[in-house]
C-alpha cells in the first residue's frame, strides 16, 4: 500500500529520491545534533553518573558494551550476510592488547599521561589489533560459505582463546623475539606485495632484472622466517623474555580509566557508522553480497573487498569495546570470552533481526539486562518450577487435541465469550494467579507480564485483524491462567510423592541459572516461529510500530 508506483525497489528508491540535498539545513542539523550529544553526555557525566551505585553502573556498562558488540556483529552477519560465530575473539584481542599496553606503560597519578587521552589511545590500539585479526579472518572467508564459515570462525575464536591462555611468561608462551619476527615477516611480505604492484618498474621490466628482484626479496624473507622460527623454538634466544598476558588467569591490574560517557560515545558511534554505511552507496554493495553473492560478483561488486572490509570494521569496533571493558573491569580473563559469549552475540543479532541495527542494539541491551537483572529475583523452588512446566505441557497437549477435533471454533462461534474472557484474564492472570498459587514471583515479573498482556490487548483493539485476533488472544490469556491454576494441584501432588520430595524437594533454583535454559528455548522458538528475528530486516521506526498495529503495510526491505 505504498504511495509511489515507481518500478524501483524501495531501498534504492529511498536513497535515490528522498529530499533534495541542501547544504545549509543538512550541516546545521548535523552540527546541532553533535553539540546536543556532547551536552547531554556532559550533563550525564556531571550530574547523573556520580549518583549511580556500582551495581547500576555495571548494568549500564555491560548492556551498552554488549549492544555495541551486537551492532558490530550485525555488520558482518546481518548486513553482509557472512556467518561469523567467533566475535568474542575480537572482543578479547582488543581487551588484552589495551590492557597489556596499559599495565606496561601507564602509571597513575601523577603519571605521564592524561587518563582520558591514554584511554582514547588504548581504544584505538585495541581496535587496531582487532582489525588486523579481522583481516586475518576475513581472508579465508573468501573461500567459505555458510556452515563452513561459521565453524571456521568458531575455530578461529577458540585458537585465539587457547593462544592467549598460554601466554603466561613461562615455558609455553611464545617468545618475544618470535613475536617481533612474525611482525617483521608480515611487514616485509606486505611491503613486498604493495611495492610489487606499485612499482613503475613492474610495468616495464619483466624478465631478468625483475626476476632477480623477486629472488632477493624471497631470500631475505626466508632468512627472516628461519630466524623467526628458530627464535620461537629456541629457549636460548629467550633474551627478551616471553609474552605474558597473565595466562589462563588473565591480566590483572589494568587501571580503571573508563567512564560511562566513553561507552555511550562508542555505542552511538557504532550505530552511526553502521547506519551511514548501510544507507550509502557502499552499503548497497554490502547488501548485494548478502542477497546473492554470485549476482553481485557478476554485476561488478568487489565481493572480496566488501567481505574483508565488513570483517575488519566489525572486528575493530569489537576491539574498541574490548579496550573499554578492560579498563572498566580492571582485569581480563580469557575465561570470560569463550564460545558462549560468541553464541550469545549471534543470538542477540538473530533475535533482534539480522540486518536490523536497532534490532541488534535493542536485543543486546535487553538480553544483557535480563541476564544481570534476573539476579534480583528470589529463588524458585524446584517443585514449583517443574509443576509449572508439567501444567503447561498438559495444557498444550489438551489444546492440540481440542483444536484438531474442531471443538473450539474461533472463526465460527465462541467469539464474544472468548474476547471477554481474554480481557478479564488479562487482569486476572497477574493478581488472581498470585493469590491462588502463591507462586511468589517478584512483583517486577508480575507487573511485566500484566503490562505485556494489556499492551497486546490494546494493540489488538486497533488492528485490522480484530475479529480473529481478539478471541485468539482471549484463548491464550485463558490458557495462561489455567496453567497457574493447574500448578497448584500438581505441585501439592508432587510434594506428597515421597520419592520426588526427597530427591528435589529442597532444591531452589536461582533465576539467573534458569535464564540460560529459558534463553536457549526462546532462541529455538524464535527460530522456528519467526526466523528473521523480531525486527526482520527493518529498523525500529514509526512505520514499524504502525504496521504492527495494522495501520499501514510496511514496505518490503
Amino acid at each position: 500500500m505504498s504511495e509511489s508506483t515507481s518500478p524501483l525497489p524501495h531501498p534504492i528508491e529511498s536513497i535515490m529520491k528522498g529530499s533534495r540535498y541542501q547544504a545549509g539545513p543538512f550541516w546545521i542539523a548535523r552540527v546541532l545534533s553533535l553539540i546536543a550529544t556532547i551536552a547531554l553526555l556532559y550533563g550525564f557525566h556531571q550530574f547523573i553518573a556520580p549518583k549511580l551505585g556500582i551495581y547500576d553502573v555495571r548494568l549500564i556498562v555491560l548492556s551498552l558494551l554488549f549492544a555495541t558488540l551486537a551492532v558490530s556483529l550485525n555488520l558482518i552477519n546481518g548486513i553482509t550476510g557472512q556467518f561469523s560465530v567467533g566475535h568474542a575473539a575480537f572482543y578479547l584481542i582488543g581487551a588484552i592488547t589495551a590492557g597489556k599496553l596499559s599495565t606496561t606503560f601507564y602509571t597513575p597519578n601523577p603519571g605521564n599521561y592524561n587518563p582520558q587521552v591514554w584511554l582514547v589511545l588504548m581504544i584505538f590500539a585495541g581496535g587496531a589489533a582487532a582489525a588486523i585479526a579481522g583481516l586475518l579472518v576475513g581472508l579465508p572467508s573468501l573461500r567459505l560459505r555458510g556452515d563452513y564459515l561459521a565453524v571456521a570462525t568458531l575455530g578461529f575464536g577458540e585458537i585465539v582463546n587457547v593462544f592467549l591462555r598460554n601466554q603466561d611468561g613461562k615455558s609455553q608462551a611464545i617468545t618475544l623475539t618470535a613475536v617481533v619476527a612474525l611482525i617483521a615477516i608480515s611487514i616485509v611480505l606486505y611491503l613486498y606485495i604493495l611495492l610489487l604492484k606499485r612499482l613503475p618498474v613492474y610495468k616495464g621490466f619483466k624478465g631478468f632484472a625483475f626476476g632477480m628482484l623477486k629472488l632477493i626479496v624471497a631470500l631475505a624473507a626466508m632468512r627472516l622466517a628461519a630466524w623467526g622460527v628458530f627464535a620461537a623454538l629456541g629457549p636460548s634466544l629467550d633474551k627478551f623474555g616471553r609474552l605474558d598476558t597473565g595466562g589462563a588467569i588473565g591480566l590483572v591490574g589494568v587501571p580503571k580509566l573508563t567512564q560511562i560517557y566513553f561507552i555511550i560515545l562508542l555505542f552511538i558511534g557504532t550505530i552511526a557508522i553502521s547506519r551511514n554505511l548501510l544507507k550509502s552507496a557502499h552499503g548497497l554493495s554490502f547488501l548485494a553480497v548478502r542477497e546473492d553473492e554470485l549476482a553481485a560478483d557478476a554485476t561488478g561488486v568487489s565481493t572480496t573487498n566488501v567481505k574483508v572490509t565488513a570483517f575488519a570494521i566489525g572486528a575493530a569496533i569489537a576491539g574498541m569495546a574490548g579496550a573499554l571493558f578492560a579498563h572498566y573491569n580492571g582485569s581480563v580473563s580469557p575465561d570470560d570470552f569463550k564460545m558462549d559469549v560468541s553464541f550469545m552475540l549471534v543470538a542477540m543479532v538473530v533475535i533482534g533481526g539480522t540486518g536490523s541495527i536497532t534490532g541488534a542494539a535493542l536485543a543486546g541491551i535487553g538480553l544483557k539486562l535480563l541476564e544481570e537483572g534476573l539476579r534480583k529475583l528470589p529463588q524458585i523452588p524446584a517443585v514449583d518450577l517443574f509443576s509449572l512446566v508439567i501444567a503447561a505441557i498438559v495444557l498444550f497437549a489438551a489444546y492440540r487435541f481440542v483444536s484438531q477435533r474442531g471443538w473450539l471454533k474461533i472463526d465460527g462461534g465462541l467469539k464474544v465469550p472468548l474476547t471477554v474472557l481474554g480481557a478479564l484474564a488479562c487482569l486476572g492472570v497477574g493478581w488472581l494467579g498470585y493469590l491462588t498459587t502463591k507462586a511468589d514471583l517478584s512483583w517486577v515479573l508480575r507487573i511485566g507480564i500484566l503490562a505485556v498482556l494489556a499492551g497486546t490487548l490494546i494493540g489488538l483493539l486497533f488492528t485490522k485483524a480484530r475479529p480473529a485476533a481478539l478471541p485468539r488472544f482471549g484463548l491464550f490469556a485463558a490458557c495462561l491462567y489455567v496453567v497457574t491454576l493447574l500448578k497448584v494441584p500438581i505441585s501439592s501432588g508432587m510434594h506428597s510423592i515421597s520419592g520426588i520430595e526427597n530427591l528435589i524437594g529442597k532444591t531452589m533454583y536461582n533465576p539467573s541459572d534458569l535464564r540460560w535454559a529459558v534463553f536457549s528455548i526462546a532462541l529455538v522458538f524464535v527460530m522456528i516461529l519467526r526466523s528473521q528475528g523480531l525486527l526482520g530486516h527493518h529498523e525500529f521506526s514509526w512505520s514499524f510500530v504502525k504496521s504492527f498495529l495494522g495501520k499501514r503495510e510496511l514496505a518490503p526491505a
Binding site: A152, G155, A347, V524
Partner: protein
C-alpha cells in the same frame, strides 16, 4: 621430545581418537543427509556418559553381577537412551525447519545444544561432579607390550569402535535402508521423488548417529574416569566435527580416519612439549583443511562449499 616415548603417546592418541571417531560418524551421517551441522551432537555424547554413570550406580550395589555384563548394560543403556534423545531433537527442533535458511537451522542447533547443557545442569546439579566408580572399569589393568604401557580398556575401546564402524558400513552398503540413506545424502529432493521415505531415513540416521555418540560417551567416561559435567561434550563435539570434515564430510570411513588423526595429533602436541596448545590443534587443522582441501581427505576435491 623423547622419541622413545612416542609409541606410548601414539597409543593414547588412538584411544582418544577412537572416541572422536564415534562422534564424528554421527556428525558426518547427519550432515550427509540433512546438510546440517548438528551442534547438539556433542551434548548427546555427554548424555551418553551420564546415562552410563546412572546405570552403573543403579546396578553397582548388586555385586553378584558379572562386571563384563554390567559394562555391556551400560553401553546398551547409553546407546538406547541417546538414540531416543536424538529422535526427539530431530522431531521437535529440526523437522519444522526443513526448508528454512541454513543460518536459522544452525542457530537452532546452537539453541538446542545450550538448552541441553543448561537445563541438564539444573537437573543434575553441578557439584559434586560424579564420575564412574573405578571398580566398574574392570579392564583397567595395564599390560606391557614391547615396553609400552597399554591398558586392556584402550584395546577394548578401539575394538568396540571398529566393530561398530564395521556394522555401520555393512548397514549402509548392504541394506535397503542404507541405500536409501545414501540416496538421500546424494540428492534430497530427487530421492523423495523416487519414492524414498525421507522422513524415515532422517529418523534412522539420527538414531544411528546418536546411538554411536552415546556409545562414545560411555566408553570415554568409563575408561578415563573423569568427572562429568554438562559441558563435558562441548569441546569433544567440536573436535569430532573437525574430524568429520577432515575425513570428508558425508564419508564414513573418512570420519573414522579423521577421528584417529585428530586424537593422535592432539597427543603428539603434548609429546612435543606444547601441552597448553592441544585444544587449538583441532581448529588449526580445521582451518588448514578448509583452506586447502575442503572436501576432506577422502572427499572430492571439487569445491564443496
Amino acid at each position: 621430545m623423547d622419541w622413545g616415548q612416542l609409541p606410548q603417546y601414539l597409543v593414547l592418541g588412538v584411544q582418544l581418537g577412537a572416541v572422536y571417531a564415534l562422534i564424528a560418524l554421527g556428525y558426518t551421517m547427519v550432515y550427509g543427509v540433512l546438510r546440517l551441522i548438528n551442534f547438539a551432537h556433542g551434548d548427546v555424547f555427554m548424555i551418553g556418559a551420564y546415562l552410563a554413570y546412572y546405570t552403573s550406580m543403579v546396578w553397582f550395589d548388586r555385586h553378584a553381577i558379572n562386571p563384563y555384563l554390567m559394562l555391556g548394560m551400560m553401553l546398551l543403556m547409553a546407546m538406547i537412551g541417546c538414540a531416543v534423545l536424538g529422535v526427539v531433537i530431530e522431531r521437535l527442533a529440526y523437522r519444522p525447519l526443513r526448508s528454512a535458511p541454513r543460518i536459522s537451522v544452525l542457530i537452532t542447533a546452537v539453541g538446542v545444544s545450550l538448552f541441553i547443557e543448561y537445563a541438564g545442569r539444573l537437573v543434575v546439579q553441578t557439584s559434586p561432579q560424579p564420575s564412574i566408580v573405578q571398580e566398574v572399569n574392570v579392564l583397567a589393568k595395564p599390560m606391557n607390550i614391547w615396553g609400552i604401557n597399554v591398558e586392556q580398556s584402550q584395546i577394548a575401546v578401539l575394538a568396540v569402535v571398529l566393530v561398530l564402524m564395521g556394522l555401520l558400513f555393512f548397514y549402509v552398503t548392504r541394506t535397503s535402508m542404507g541405500r536409501a540413506m545414501r540416496a538421500v545424502s546424494h540428492d534430497f529432493n530427487t530421492a523423495s521423488l523416487m519414492g524414498v521415505n525421507v522422513d524415515r531415513v532422517v529418523v534412522v540416521t539420527f538414531i544411528i548417529g546418536s546411538a554411536l555418540a552415546g556409545a562414545g560417551g560411555m566408553l570415554q567416561a568409563t575408561s578415563f574416569g573423569s568427572p562429568l559435567n554438562t559441558f563435558y561434550g562441548l569441546l569433544p563435539g567440536v573436535k569430532a566435527f573437525v574430524a568429520a570434515v577432515l575425513g570428508g564430510i558425508g564419508n564414513i570411513p573418512g570420519a573414522v580416519v579423521g577421528g584417529l588423526i585428530m586424537g593422535v595429533a592432539e597427543t603428539a602436541v603434548v609429546w612435543a612439549g606444547y601441552a597448553g596448545y592441544k585444544d587449538a590443534v583441532a581448529f588449526v587443522i580445521l582451518i588448514v583443511i578448509l583452506l586447502f582441501r575442503p572436501g576432506g581427505l577422502f572427499g572430492s576435491t571439487a569445491e564443496k562449499v
